[in-house]
Amino acid sequence: MPLQTATGAVRTGLVAFGFLGYLILIGIPAKLGGPALPVLALVAALFFWLILRRESAGLSAVGTGPVPASLERKAGWEIGPQSASDASSVRERLPYQLSQSVLLKGLLAGATLGILIAVVSGIAAAAMGNGIAIQPVFDKIVPINVAALIGVSPGQIPQAEVPFFRYLLQVLFFTGAGLLASLAAAAGRSGLTHAAPIAKLSEQVSGPTIASASRYAGIALPFVLLAYIGWLGLPGVSAFGSNEGTVRLLFTLVATGSGLFAWRLSLPGRERSIVAVLLGLGVLTLPFILDQFQNSVMGLVFIFVMMGLGLNIVVGYAGLLDLGYVAFFAIGAYTYAFLSAPFSSPYISNLLNILGISPETPLLGYWTALPVAMLTAAIGGILLGIPVLRLRGDYLAIVTLGFGEIIRLFMLNLGELTNGPRGILEISQPNLFGLSPATVTSGLLSSQGWTFFVALISSALVAFVAIRLNSSRLGRAWFAMQEDEDVAEATGVHLVRTKLLAFAIGATFAGMAGQLYAARQINIFPENFSLFVSIDALALIIVGGIGSPAGIVLGALALKGLPEVLRGVDEYRIVAFAALLVIMMIVRPAGILPSARRRIQLADPVEAGLDSTAEPVEETDLVEQTGTSKQTANGQEEAK
């Protein structure tokens, strides 16, 4: 087995090298610049994961089988002293042994790939340093390409000044990619939520194992990354040669995303609350340590998190496909724009002049305008909701699509009110306890950092409400309505009220997001609110996992954040992105972090943990097995 694993791992590493080698030959690292190494490592991780997850699936079908529900229950909440039968049952059937082989394989494959890349780039760098040009043979292997791959500035290559630890770092990056992939593959079968109790149980039964160690590694990962991001931001630190800002952005995205996984890897209870608090504090430090560019991207990501959470209520909870969600975003943005910059709107400034109020100053501050923007958006939601109450599915999608366009055309053509395509200008930023935004931002925070900070707080609030709604009476009514309107109505659900509430609450969240977006942009124009905003919001909840707030955050990071990192590879960016989406939809049709409910619908039964029909048989099976093993053990003792 180990030898088989080893050769298999090396083979996997070689195949990955072939793939990445092609990317290097066509000059992708040069285009990416600084982020080349981490981005390639992520690509390798995705590649490894695709291979390892199949392997882990095959093995588990033959070997240990899925975790029995009774064990999960025990493992999750009542970890007390374990009896002998528990111990043997864990050893018998937990996939942790399997995970170990997968983990080893991932590490080895990653190391193989890393060493190959380090050796090849070392040879190329040495050749160039000694004046041998490779360009005539491979036209894209130029100093700038190799430098990006190694993570140094291009000038260091011709002088042959590459420190040795750079190559070690390359190996480390790809080995880490292998570890990440195998972790994901090992956890995939039983789901991350189950991975935590399983690892904990196996640790209690047979001491620290690779599975439990990797669980702690998974929890520690976001904090390590946060520290790394902080270090990268220190003056004088240069880790990746060029485009360092993008590298930091990439790490910020990965750190935030891995924070969600860390949360899932922690055990429910005290451990999870500690992890959650630390993660929260960690993320809240980000606006302070990032620069203007990174903050602006992250701010946009979290504005879209709010959008996604709101749209998720309409689409994910209530099952009403809304393609015109941008309308409420626009309503929120323009409401705040009118209140904050009345002078930009000819109609409103006239009106205010007649009323004897000066239109030159904002009517309301950011926080006092918030309820107004939310209310206006909610009214918009109800106004859309009433005519489409009887529509379902495709027809609903088309009507909402039209509504989104109508609002945008209104903004474009109601020149007197909205200033048409010239837009509303000079919208003010959120203030803090009466302090002007300038005072707030002149010190610790950049202006975009402040937006990011507000976006974080707002989306945390929205997420809290969304999660509470999920398990509320209203949430149940939404899900029931999504499943079967007639039956839901026959159990006493007031369909009209329930649907309108979904539209209104979803619109409220979009209104909040729109207001912050207006403040972030300072000047807003009708073209900011095109159909593509709706599509982005819908795509991010589908990729992340409909109905799952954590998935939505992940979706926003991937769909709104990652493209900014990949900006360097311009013409390949869209291709890479499309490929990523296609792969995601094939291997995880329910999204990256699906909600429990969606998993049931879309995933295969084993992955969704629904093998319970087989459970009673397995249980008796288990008792028999442990019984006989105990008997033989006793027999042996007696024989001695």
């Binding site: 009514a477 029931a480 026959a490 159990t491 659900v493 007031h494 619908q601 319970s612």
Partner: protein
């Protein structure tokens, strides 16, 4: 308790129910039998308000829930169900376990049962009824946190009946509870229907399995292409040669 007075129902311009009149008295099990397309399910859906009544009337009589303690104001309510939307009919205590079970597949068993009690605002009563459902269907208690869609057919039927009972109904409308179940399970389900009735529940039972239904029921109606062609005590119908030939396959 429930009176249908020449009820007409249409699907578009298709005349599905052509003047159905039937009565269900308090504490009775009344069964509605007939072949495919006779209008059995349509009748139930019309009562519960999912389908609109084009002509005729549906009366529902009961002492109001809150004043059931015999206070002087406790008068029998007499309500035209055909004028109410479905969710208000449900709130009055007319509870339907629909054909094909139609449990909420992605909601857990617990949430499904909670949906049954959606219209109620008495937490203690809900808990009490939950206990009662678990007594009737111990299987559901074992499967509490499992999604409804993963239950077996028989368990789903139990859940559908349990969900209907959770609304603490005045009258229970059961639509083909034996559909697609193994003979042993069918027996079990009918046994449970008997038990529920013995606890005082009024039941209107729609069935294709005429024999089993008539054995459980007090009275029966035979439905044919939207008309009631025969009615009477269940025993008489069982003995009726016409019924035997057409529906019992004897």
């Amino acid at each position: 308790m429930l009176i249908l007075d020449s009820v007409h129902t249409y699907y578009g311009h298709i005349h599905a129910l052509k003047g159905i009149s039937l009565t269900v008295n308090k504490g009775e099990v009344v069964t509605l039998i007939g072949s495919n397309g006779a209008g059995k399910t349509t009748t139930l859906n019309t009562i519960s308000g999912v389908l609109p009544t084009r002509a005729g009337a549906i009366y529902f009589q009961d002492s109001p829930r809150s004043a059931g303690d015999g206070s002087p104001n406790a008068r029998d309510i007499d309500i035209r169900l055909d004028r109410l939307p479905a969710h208000d009919v449900a709130r009055l205590g007319v509870s339907q376990s629909p054909e094909g079970r139609k449990i909420f597949a992605r909601l857990t068993v617990q949430e499904n049962l909670a949906m049954g009690a959606f219209a109620r605002s008495d937490p203690e009563g809900v808990l009490h009824d939950l206990e009662r459902v678990f007594e009737l269907f111990p299987r559901l208690k074992e499967r509490l946190s499992q999604p409804g869609g993963t239950l077996s057919g028989g368990e789903q039927q139990m859940l559908a009946i349990g969900r209907a009972l959770m609304s603490s109904p005045r009258i229970l409308l059961l639509d083909e509870p034996s559909m697609g179940l193994a003979p042993l399970l069918v027996q079990q389900i009918f046994q449970i229907i008997r038990e529920i009735n013995a606890q005082g529940m009024t039941i209107l039972l729609v069935e294709q399995n005429a024999q089993a239904a008539l054995q459980v029921a007090d009275r029966g109606y035979v439905l044919e292409t939207g008309n009631i062609v025969l009615s009477g005590p269940a025993g008489d119908l069982l003995a009726n040669p016409q019924v035997a030939e057409a529906y019992l396959g004897i």
